[in-house]
Symmetry: D2
Amino acid sequence: MSTKLPVGILGATGIVGQRFIQMLEQHPWFEVSWLAASDRSEGRTYAEAARWRLKTAIPAPIAKMTLSPAKPEGAPKIIFAALDAAIARELEPQFAAAGCAVVSNSSALRMQSDVPLVIPEVNGDHIRLIDKQSWRSQSGGYVVTNPNCSAIGLVIALAPLHRAFTLETVMAVTMQAVSGAGYPGVASLDILGNVIPYIAKEEEKMEEETQKLLGTLNGSRVDPAPFAMSAQCNRVAVEDGHTESVAVRFKKKAAPEEIIAAWNDFQAEPQQLRLPSAPPQPVVYMTAPDRPQPRFDVDLGAGMTTAVGRLRKCNVLDWKFTVLSHNTIRGAAGAALLNAEFLKAKGYFG
Amino acid sequence: MSTKLPVGILGATGIVGQRFIQMLEQHPWFEVSWLAASDRSEGRTYAEAARWRLKTAIPAPIAKMTLSPAKPEGAPKIIFAALDAAIARELEPQFAAAGCAVVSNSSALRMQSDVPLVIPEVNGDHIRLIDKQSWRSQSGGYVVTNPNCSAIGLVIALAPLHRAFTLETVMAVTMQAVSGAGYPGVASLDILGNVIPYIAKEEEKMEEETQKLLGTLNGSRVDPAPFAMSAQCNRVAVEDGHTESVAVRFKKKAAPEEIIAAWNDFQAEPQQLRLPSAPPQPVVYMTAPDRPQPRFDVDLGAGMTTAVGRLRKCNVLDWKFTVLSHNTIRGAAGAALLNAEFLKAKGYFG
Amino acid sequence: MSTKLPVGILGATGIVGQRFIQMLEQHPWFEVSWLAASDRSEGRTYAEAARWRLKTAIPAPIAKMTLSPAKPEGAPKIIFAALDAAIARELEPQFAAAGCAVVSNSSALRMQSDVPLVIPEVNGDHIRLIDKQSWRSQSGGYVVTNPNCSAIGLVIALAPLHRAFTLETVMAVTMQAVSGAGYPGVASLDILGNVIPYIAKEEEKMEEETQKLLGTLNGSRVDPAPFAMSAQCNRVAVEDGHTESVAVRFKKKAAPEEIIAAWNDFQAEPQQLRLPSAPPQPVVYMTAPDRPQPRFDVDLGAGMTTAVGRLRKCNVLDWKFTVLSHNTIRGAAGAALLNAEFLKAKGYFG
Amino acid sequence: MSTKLPVGILGATGIVGQRFIQMLEQHPWFEVSWLAASDRSEGRTYAEAARWRLKTAIPAPIAKMTLSPAKPEGAPKIIFAALDAAIARELEPQFAAAGCAVVSNSSALRMQSDVPLVIPEVNGDHIRLIDKQSWRSQSGGYVVTNPNCSAIGLVIALAPLHRAFTLETVMAVTMQAVSGAGYPGVASLDILGNVIPYIAKEEEKMEEETQKLLGTLNGSRVDPAPFAMSAQCNRVAVEDGHTESVAVRFKKKAAPEEIIAAWNDFQAEPQQLRLPSAPPQPVVYMTAPDRPQPRFDVDLGAGMTTAVGRLRKCNVLDWKFTVLSHNTIRGAAGAALLNAEFLKAKGYFG
């Protein structure tokens, strides 16, 4: 009999749900024992209900698994949630109230003051907010979230710089992959040969999440990082991988070789704990003048590494560079999975 | 017999050369009488030598025209030049020295102090630099240039704002079409499903050209505009149309409706003179939240109008917005053609 | 006051509905006076209800027009229908029963024995089936259809060959544009960097419609053309334009120059009648070895011309060639519009 | 010290050369010890000379390796050749004459009567032609070739059917990936939103190679398979993976389940010999109605498996189906590598 921890997936049929299933297929600690999606999927097998959009095949045991109702009854105690925000806002509290650890990729509760928004390499200490959640004291359940797919790569690239040089200003312009909009998501007629200079609510999320992630835990809340932050978000005809043109100003003087070293040498608790999904190197600086590029570099570190390149002086702020991050791995399912591994390592799974 | 002015095209077989031919097909003032390209094309008909990449057909008289040697002998007095920079640096002075008016799209001489870099709606007065050129006094010839395809849309969008509110800071991130790299240009293996965060020398051109274009004519040179300017340039899988995410800070306070009015009401000499290629409205502000988009809006004003949208507050500078401009029409052949029309109207064609 | 005939559009907000509106904007005979779409659109203005996906702007009078209920009451007597098959099957008979001439692009009734499936250049005489329809005798109303977007280009290319050489066998493999699936239609995650070798029911439609179109009117029905016909349908990452690789065998011997002449010389009643939407040349043979191509040739004849190229010997059948046709113009809205013009010219509009 | 066989790569910097390097990185039998490309690369390191276009990194020892002159002196005895046909025609005989086993992906010598054109699963016995080559008797050297990237998937799919049911007629229409044209290869301006219905010489190669591959060894030559074969070749905007719409007629009657079984059960000597690059299942029949698709299925069997789907009746021939094969793995580098493994297993490497 398996000694792995049983986990459930809410929103299992979507693009992020599929990535959860793919990443959990050979996971050393967790095993998928329960799947749920929309009402219309309930009772069907996963293979029938999901329009699988990944290159690897649906794992055989998952293909045959029947989708459960999206209710806490009968669900395991660890739930990965990949729901649309409106549904998440309703369901995630139900599961937390029923005693589940809800490891969520949804934006619904990310900015709620007692809900940790966590990247284990960046602000792992924020998980202590869990103990401020009323669900926790009542049923043992809680909600932990990971950031938006456009924020996470940026924040991982910024974190070592913020530590070393203290950010004063951040400007980011994104060129985001279509998989970030889910499936069916972006219509082909909208994106073939096109750029869409708008993603609903994305800029607001990117700005406020970046400041919460790089903020300071202060008792029962997080004080957002005090730097100025502005984001512009665009959609481009790329399958996977969000590319970002970033400019920053620091409080302290930084030489380019110091910045590159801060990236390449960046190590944090997930690496020290050797968490199964932690990339050996969270940030890699690419020296070729035209990299990173999503088509070639998105799978670095099995999609968990943030690639950075093109560091150069900025005439307005101090430095400019390009960031690339896999939006459905590091930016969604992999982020939540690493959060779960971190929670387990920290004793939050019982 | 035609009473139109005969013009020649240097670099006639390339993507920009093709646009010249397309735009001149029905031109009321000019008529193509001479074509030249590389040595290897010489003596062949245009239809044989050019790999035509436009949707409209090669005009019949052009198809049969034989390519001349790229030498001033036998060339008409008005030359549109669409040469690579290295070749332009050699050939354009030869034609100017031989008495030709060289209306150039090349970057070779743009930043030379006595060469006007002109957008007639923006800095038409800079053409007076022509009279400082030694070619002018010796043979009557001269060189006038238009800006890089990534700079022109930005500058047209900035010009009315600079007049009204005085720019202090400009940051621009581009998402540029593949046609900007000419033909064959960008390999399909490089751009399908990809973003390339690098275009050689593009950021430098964008920054310095923007400041020269918005600068002040000061005797025999132009004092660059004193605002800070930073550009980041990316290539995306779009055929035509450069999209830019821009942020600006003004010296004077501006309300959003004032900014939008400054754009929509922007009129300049080319409009007053009713130059054939001048768009009735140089800048159009699009109110839909997700526009402009290259696939749908690139042909506004027959490709000569700059589309702007998404004006909103910036947390770092004052305002953010999106700019779209057709890179081979307004950004290349159309820019040079409008320069030629402006020169004619101003009496520089004899 | 306008003396144009008022027409209505059923399914006005979809991709084909949009093409109807675009093509009718300056039409000399018809004027849009009524629009209807799904229930959810009713009562909204067209600008609010439609997600306009064309490069030209929504005509101003249309933008303000309010969408009517999709019922014959209050609708004009000429209705262009661009409905999904399931809805068309229900609504088109209602409009015909109410006395409307329903000029339909839907597949619902195409193969019904008393409904003409018509390309005016090919089988204009089939419109006489109208007089066999019970609606016609009861209310004066009737239904006329045009073929599927994948069949029409093929049939226009085949028609002159069938007349001259008698088809014995036809094999066609399509590479179809995404606009053929409507909007939102094909998800970008399904088609970026991909080929989808399947379009539901498309091969069956292509095969049976081709045979009905090239068949013979026999009293109250059409005897399908007796040649063997096989189709394979694929979706590719192209916005507009279905490309087809075709092979044919003839009963009579044909020289290649005879085949090409049959195409280039093909003229039919719409050309003789100078119908407003009839292309001067229904078929154009392109001599370049790598044409036609959708990106460059789809707009030939304002999207109404069928482009053919690459005629060469086939080792299995007699001849192979490539066909290209604009799927939402000649393959949908333009097809219906030309049918309406033909009906008017033939006295079927009162 | 390594006990692996040293191998060299001619044409090491191209797309196929890169695949050779990638596939040989961990190869159990072979080790790259020598690289050559064009004159202009000679003396540079591989990292400097190659524009690497794969997702995995250049293997570290290869990156530092210096490119040798493309001459047999100093080259190892086993040479993988990925040269353009014109150069191959000149160089491959030089290497064979110097005693090298030239395992070639080039089209130059494929149709030469004493040169085996081999797919080990299909016509492994044809390697006996090696002994008819004059190089072999003089120096021990020889040339063995693999088919064109468009032919190989088709032939692997046809082979088990030909054995079981005897092919009478084959018609194939391809939709080929851009990587098949090498790098830079297809210009992005040619293929974005486009289909190119022409690939120079491709149809001829596909037709004659298919018949040689499925032909019969007859002493010092191969009698081509006697079925009729017709190909039409198109380029589409796909990175990797050639998709083909195929129709066939058999001499013997075949039920669909027999055809599918023939594919799924197909095993040959490479599988029995457990050659390192042999896919466990050379052909996989996919049951989903819309598969195979290049974006999702191209990497089946590490790119060495041919995927087939959509088997259905044909109104003209007997059966229709879709084939997908990875064009730079199974269709180029992997094909040659499997040939080399097969030659070694058969004792042709001394």
